[in-house]
Symmetry: C2
Subunit: 342 residues, 2 copies
């Protein structure tokens, strides 16, 4: 155990023993067996931990020649959520964009699905009340939620629990709602739905810096927000406005995703913006017709074509987001990390 | 003159003499000379008129072997505008989209510039108050309007008079405005600006069916609206919502433009939608990196690369829009067309 306390969690800057990540340590013959409890099942650092634990134990501790790690994960709880929303979820991550059409819903859907595939329990609220695209992207364009005990049962797609106004209306009859009505509609998606216990609740926000994203960001205790942008200059100025709005509202910015990178829109604008604004760059998703086709036919590319470069990019994005969310939750907790995890 | 009254205006379904389009008819030697007053300088039918007038006169009227047409244009006045807005403009055309990011501002800018190139006097209001993209697209990112006699002087780009909140703010300080404030900001762009006399005022609306486009569409006497969409299925359901909103508000729909057609987003969705909804299809703009680059650097492709396929498509679009607007204005007038033109 003492030897393992030299292994430092690279993002939380504390050792894994203090962080209470090491459980059930036993030594059998020449093998050290223990469980390592990560802060997210989508942890990108498994290999790093394995390597560092080997370095700390093998040859350093007498009689240890092998290690056998059992992996577990417990998403830390964002304490700010409790008491404000009666929904058993550990974290609440918003996906935002300065302008529409940058692929925010595509990113939300593939992020949620990738986290679910990694073993997390995930909910996705389509908060773009006026233009709900998630149902079509999930292949549930004609879905209708059942009602049990006066609450709606979310629909399921690829292991993600979904709610959207798209399940309650049809495109032919648009909802022309003004600001305050939007707000109460979204609130019901939190309170009047059987979500069960969730590690991650992803909220696909309406685009822009208008009434709807503003009300939402103010009303709910967001763990953090991801800003989706496109690489071109015209899109970046919209992204800057969005970042400025969330900074004003004191919502932690988990980072920037550059979507649709490639010949048409260019490449690198999102990363440059992240550097300029001093926020993390979470990844770049290539412009790929397969992504669009997947969205049109309800087959998210991160599930259906995981080896496609865009599919791989979405998986890497999910890991980066999960890691950043863990860091934000643990750093913003009122208590020291060890108490949060235990 | 009697012979010319057999020439029918193909869109207004009336003959060009009754429509008061023929002026100053004289016969010199064997040549009939007259002025043909079109309803828009961007008229796509010049060749058709020339051919039909030749057919009607040459060999049909004794002694006429040649014709010599002088072209003129007078955009009809949308009578509904007068009395409601104290701005001397003949028509007010909104550019809308069901969702953002479909290239609505790109279409607005290239449409305005193409109409100006054809000889019309054109104004463009960037009504996307929260995400003003027109300044960058016009190459006037740091422009500031002068003030004369307590009114703002619009900026000029490629012969188009422009107003945008982008000239009054910076991206670093986003305007977080709620619904009612948006409305009064836009109203000032009509009333507190030295526009001069305009044939066409183009209004680049905020995307979607939320507060902002709704207030605008209700507050101003729109000649008609153009719906910009992308070809893919997910974008079409947003376009359907937008069409339904304008139909509810009794705003004439001039037609649908399919933007960014090509490998990535697909092709044909906009045209199919137009057929299904029984509204005109105005044209298809190909997905072309040059369009994006032109937008990022303030060089609208319809001016800087008129021979590029996208540049040509924008010119054809401007003609189609101008023709449709003329038809709507003349058909919706309380009086018979001849009185409107004279």
């Amino acid at each position: 155990m003492a030897a393992l306390s030299t292994v430092i969690e690279p993002e939380l800057h504390n050792d894994i023993v203090s962080l209470n990540m090491v459980r059930d340590l036993t030594v059998e013959d020449n093998t050290a067996k223990f469980t390592l409890v990560l802060t997210t099942p989508a942890c990108p650092l498994k290999d790093v931990f394995l390597q560092r634990c080997e370095q700390a134990l093998i040859g350093k501790v007498d009689g240890i020649e092998k290690i056998d790690i059992k992996w577990d994960a417990k998403v830390p709880t964002d304490r700010r959520i409790h008491g404000r929303l009666d929904v058993p979820m550990n974290s609440l991550i918003a996906v935002a964009s300065g302008k529409g059409g940058v692929g925010k819903s595509t990113v939300s859907m593939n992020l949620a699905v990738s986290l679910a595939e990694a073993g997390a329990s995930v909910g996705l609220i389509d908060a773009d009340i006026l233009n709900p695209n998630i149902p079509m992207m999930a292949g549930l364009g004609h879905g209708r939620p059942k009602v049990e005990d006066d609450k709606m049962v979310p629909l399921d797609a690829y292991g993600v629990k979904l709610m959207s106004t798209g399940f309650l209306t049809t495109p032919d009859k648009p909802m022309i709602l003004r600001g305050p009505m939007l707000h109460s509609a979204i609130r019901q998606f939190f309170t009047d739905v059987h979500w069960g216990k969730l590690d991650y609740m992803i909220v696909d926000l309406p685009p822009g810096t208008g009434d709807a994203p503003l009300s939402l960001a103010q009303s709910f205790p967001l763990t953090g927000v991801i800003i989706v942008t496109q690489p071109q200059e015209v899109a970046l100025s919209d992204a800057i406005r969005s970042i400025a709005m969330f900074e004003k509202l004191n919502v932690p910015i988990l980072g920037i995703v550059e979507n649709m990178a490639g010949d048409f829109f260019g490449e690198g604008g999102g990363e440059r913006l992240a550097e300029e604004r001093g926020v993390p760059f979470l990844g770049r998703i290539p412009l790929d017709a397969e992504v669009r086709i997947g969205g049109d036919y309800g087959r998210p590319i991160s599930v259906t074509q995981p080896d496609n470069p865009a599919g791989q990019a979405f998986h890497a994005l999910a890991q980066a987001v999960a890691a950043r969310a863990s860091v934000v939750m643990l750093q913003s907790a009122d208590v020291i990390p060890i108490n949060v995890i235990s």
